[in-house]
Symmetry: C2
């Protein structure tokens, strides 16, 4: 955390997955130089760029110009912004655009946007011609530190979030830290929840560093790059150790079981709750529930809540505008969540800050009682 580099060269985090290993470049100005990084790594000269209506007016033009300059022929497709875009309705035109652009073996599909565009585009790249090359240019903090790394792609179903998708690793990730300046403060905070998560999983020192330095991270510059690089490294380490989420990778779901239930309960309506906000509330709930199960000290739950509240994140179910369905309905969403095993509930619980673990047999009725307590009526 104390090494601070002042050089202009981007930081590189390597995701080690044998012959599917790839680099994450993190630094300022990467969109303008994207084509150089791509052309140096991929032989193909045809690309399809998928982005959304918020990101397109800001960054599509410079990216297309950079590609053109390197002799890369690219088509682009602009989709509506928001979680609802992660659906079959939008997957279909993305697939057709990729096929229509005649993307071949060495060409690539590029996702330019937040996690929604990354997840949707990665899925489309994963199924077009049974797997096309894929480049992530994440433009939200959440996408830079989390969704663009690790190869999980997918869309939502009426039955739940991210229930349909594939594992499809990118060939390259370009995290341009400058573009975060146009991200709304609310979205920046939401992404920050995932940064804090890495501290809470197994990096107590990083969490403590964030408690002191979060304002510098929000302001930009070296502290921001550092926080993103540490986060990417943390995720890359977990992914390399457990690509398919059978063991350790599940730790990345800290706060997500509760978080996903809340997102479902608010119909994925970003006006009420965005993903990172659900994760923030979920992480506080996970620490409180762990305390209730006598696994961790209630002081740790308080410390987590205090920090997340300080940066401006919601930390309680009551912080969500509008009415939430009763606790029992939330439980339905939790039981349909991917982390179900033969009827028992799998949760990420903790023994304290930076001491998370996978609990395989959490009694559903304990969770229900806890939720009823936290959200009466």
């Amino acid at each position: 955390m104390t090494r601070a580099s002042l050089s202009a060269a981007p930081k590189t985090v390597r995701v080690d997955l044998g012959d599917r290993s790839y680099d994450i470049l993190i630094g300022p100005g990467l969109i303008a130089t994207a084509a150089g990084e791509i052309a140096g790594r991929l032989k193909g000269r045809r690309m399809a760029v998928i982005t959304d209506e918020h990101v397109a007016p800001l960054y599509l033009e410079p990216l297309m110009a950079s590609l053109k300059e390197k002799g890369i022929e690219a088509v682009s497709l602009v989709l509506p912004a928001g979680e609802k875009t992660k659906s079959f309705e939008h997957l279909i035109p993305v697939c057709e655009a990729i096929l229509g652009a005649r993307i071949e073996r060495n060409d690539a599909v590029i996702a330019l946007g937040g996690g929604v565009i990354g997840d949707l585009t990665g899925f489309a790249a994963g199924i077009a011609r049974r797997g096309s090359r894929f480049i992530q240019i994440p433009t939200s903090l959440l996408a830079q530190v989390d969704s663009s790394v690790g190869g999980k792609t997918g869309i939502n179903s009426p039955h739940g979030k991210n229930l349909i998708g594939v594992f499809h690793q990118p060939d390259l990730v370009l995290a341009d830290t400058d573009v975060l300046d146009t991200l709304s403060p609310r979205e920046f905070r939401a992404g920050y929840a995932e940064v804090a998560k890495y501290g809470l999983i197994d990096k107590p020192d990083f969490f403590a560093w964030l408690e002191k330095n979060w304002q510098a991270v929000f302001a930009g510059g070296e502290a921001r790059i550092e926080a993103i690089a540490i986060s990417c490294q943390a995720k890359a380490d977990v992914v390399a150790a457990d690509e398919r989420e059978n063991g350790r990778r599940a730790l990345l779901n800290l706060g997500h079981t509760f978080g996903h239930a809340l997102e479902a309960a608010t119909q994925y309506d970003g006006r009420r709750l965005v993903h990172g906000e659900g994760v923030a509330i979920g992480m506080v709930l996970a620490h409180q529930f762990s305390a209730r199960m006598n696994l961790a000290s209630p002081d740790d739950a308080t410390r987590v809540e205090t920090h997340l509240k300080a940066v401006g994140l919601p930390t309680r179910m009551n912080d969500i505008p509008g009415t939430l369905p009763p606790a029992e309905k939330l439980m339905d969403a939790i039981a349909q969540d991917k982390k179900v095993k033969g009827g028992k509930l799998t949760f990420i619980l903790t023994r304290g800050i930076g001491q998370s673990f996978v609990a395989d047999d959490v009694p559903a009725n304990e969770v229900l009682r806890f939720l009823e307590e936290k959200h009466p009526g």
Copy 2:
């Protein structure tokens, strides 16, 4: 070819793919005993069965009864029959049915039907929860000897056949050879084209055996089981050596580049042309084109055509009812086919019966001239 087993126990072909290896069982009466085979291999007790409107009235009931008897809770979904079912339109309800059935880690999705149901269901299983267990119960000859083995799944796009999908290996394949008795003679012949293909790829003795014994294969009994087992073994060997179709696996496409172009040219209208018929014509064309390129003797092309014609398969483009688009249009379909590499055409050509090979740099203009010759106007 000479070993003939008279025992009632099904033949087993093992597909060797490390920790994703699986068995193909081939024999009479397997649908009635399906649940026993499944319960012996999978821990899950929840299944979703996907089938089509032709197969459902014949075999769904006995399968569901067998599952119920073993304490397996199953839901079923019946789709329209035919190639057009391999589309996003039908993929969506299959995914939702799987998720709605709450298929968990050890449960499975079952495809009961021909290659259409197998490809579509396998794709849905491959993306539901980023990969659910999958059992193939192929009911057409083509599905038993080809599509149910090897893990290629997918749907069609307006841009071409099978352009969207994933590799997703089944956990078990149950080929009940009795059910082929209700298959229409035309569909049986179409599947037989793929059986003959294995001989033409690299088993000249098997092809010679088929020339003598094809009537017994059509009649049923041991010769049929034997031919199916040899075909499955041939495909299993190729798949084990090259799961992702980078090298040797491409040989399985013998006859398919031309065949797919003809399927596209007839708008996948099964009344005019079914897959195996396209492959039959395609294999004859591949041998004729190889002869034209001075790679093989024209006598081999004649021998292939004579045999396929004897069993009642179409062997020439003119055998297809209705008008075909001009040769140039057929070329468009060939160039969009998956086997395109950087603009050059990849074809499976041959040096004679059972001596196929992958040709990487077939000049497109030679193919066009050949097609114009074979299909003037």
